[in-house]
Symmetry: C2
Amino acid sequence: MTSNKLLIIGTMAYDGLETPFGKADRILGGAAVYGALAASQFNINCGIVSVIGNDFEESDLQVLRSRGIDLEGVEAVENGKTFFWKGKYHNDLNTRTTIETQLNVLETFNPVVPHNFQKADIVLLANLDPSVQLKTLEQIGSQPKLVILDTMNFWIENTPEVLFKVMGLTDVISINDEEARQLTEEYSLVKAAKKIHQMGPRYVIIKKGEHGALLFHEKNVFCIPALPLEDVFDPTGAGDSFAGGFAGYLTQTGNISFEQMKIAMIYGSALASFTVEKFGTENLIAVSKEELAQRIETFKNLTQFEIELI
Amino acid sequence: MTSNKLLIIGTMAYDGLETPFGKADRILGGAAVYGALAASQFNINCGIVSVIGNDFEESDLQVLRSRGIDLEGVEAVENGKTFFWKGKYHNDLNTRTTIETQLNVLETFNPVVPHNFQKADIVLLANLDPSVQLKTLEQIGSQPKLVILDTMNFWIENTPEVLFKVMGLTDVISINDEEARQLTEEYSLVKAAKKIHQMGPRYVIIKKGEHGALLFHEKNVFCIPALPLEDVFDPTGAGDSFAGGFAGYLTQTGNISFEQMKIAMIYGSALASFTVEKFGTENLIAVSKEELAQRIETFKNLTQFEIELI
């Protein structure tokens, strides 16, 4: 059987991180990397469209390839440097300050979708400049089952027009609570989700960090908590891992009903919970199928109940 | 069949409220009032120990009596004035400022548990001065199945020693996230719950307002979201309604297993969701058994899923 295809467009990066628990000068990161690593837990054909410089470590590419991730769409720029981001998390880990952003090869990136992925079943537009997301979408041959968009405050503030255009072509948006409020000027997340729905996406996911995530679709709402952890070690990539797990699960099943999206939310949250337990991609790379299955069980225990009305 | 007994110790009050949606100068309130109204949804024998002044409206007493709430333990002080609290909620409704507190009859309150409730099955120590909570507990004849404690930052800051004494006699504590952090000096709620557990309560409920609530017991954790609402009209009494619903459900079933506590959490959250939709006790008084059953169904749809591991 041929596996279903998931195309992920997003950054491949090196990150410098500082959290209350330690620091790392230069580790593998980027939205497409976290997303693809999470999605590679599923029996799918996953490809990345991205750009790297000649400083990108062969061993890091090997990590991705060894998990069956197709890198044909990754442009390697001679004499270019890979996107670098450096940030510092504050004590509550809910807020962070960007210390340094070197766009490097991202500045002139012109995405090319490999022929093999122009008919992808699902497209995940991981966090990236909306104009690049748009250029990628234009190369998708037939209408995919689902276009999933992840974005962040930077694009809401700086390139809202292009972002709105991408939103108009999107089925699912994944966005955090503060961004949803910023985008809609509504404090109530229920009202914010309604407004975002009117901007295009039929499904609206609002991520609330340590408080979990909400999925809105028509009159339906589904809520999944984040796993209560003793320590969140490093929140970097949590949202990307969530989006990758969500997209990966739906790509494998090929069924995009609301019931299946609930399960996709749980896989996404479970994979994000692994990511935040260690620095960078370390834990996400190490997690086995058995550990993932155990964590799904933990999510069931955390949320499921048997009720008889009294 | 004789109904199981729930004894609630807490304030009966008049509140002055200001929220972004409107204001009320003097409406029925108090932790025991919200708690008992929520608990009166269940087939139980519910009694209040509290104190009121001669300004307490007969019609308000009638509201409570008409719902089968036993007021024998409510002392009416001649020439006394009922406890009055006035507060203002800020735009996000998560923070509030106390404008005025008139303790009035609370200042000299000496609680007396009626004979009929000295063998209550469950005791809910609703938010109140811990020394009054302690005096009440000393009058309980036989060990109740469960002692549930609700408290707030004021008592943590001002009377920690007495509060710790009450906590040592408590099975379940219901506390909000900021208070749990304040009490334990731990940011992680998992760590905070462990520390609180060591202070007495076998069960620790941490309320997170619009983000729902967590129940910790030994190695078990259960998480319930708050109902996503378009507008929270007035958060006053949400925690009290939650505690009352939680205690009321467990009193009716008489079964205090972890599985039953999960259901109790859901009833508590459902009743709190009614409270916040209108001013004061208005909605909690009006809710029918059918509406409550519908809301439980809404909570099921919000949280339940069918998963087959893939």
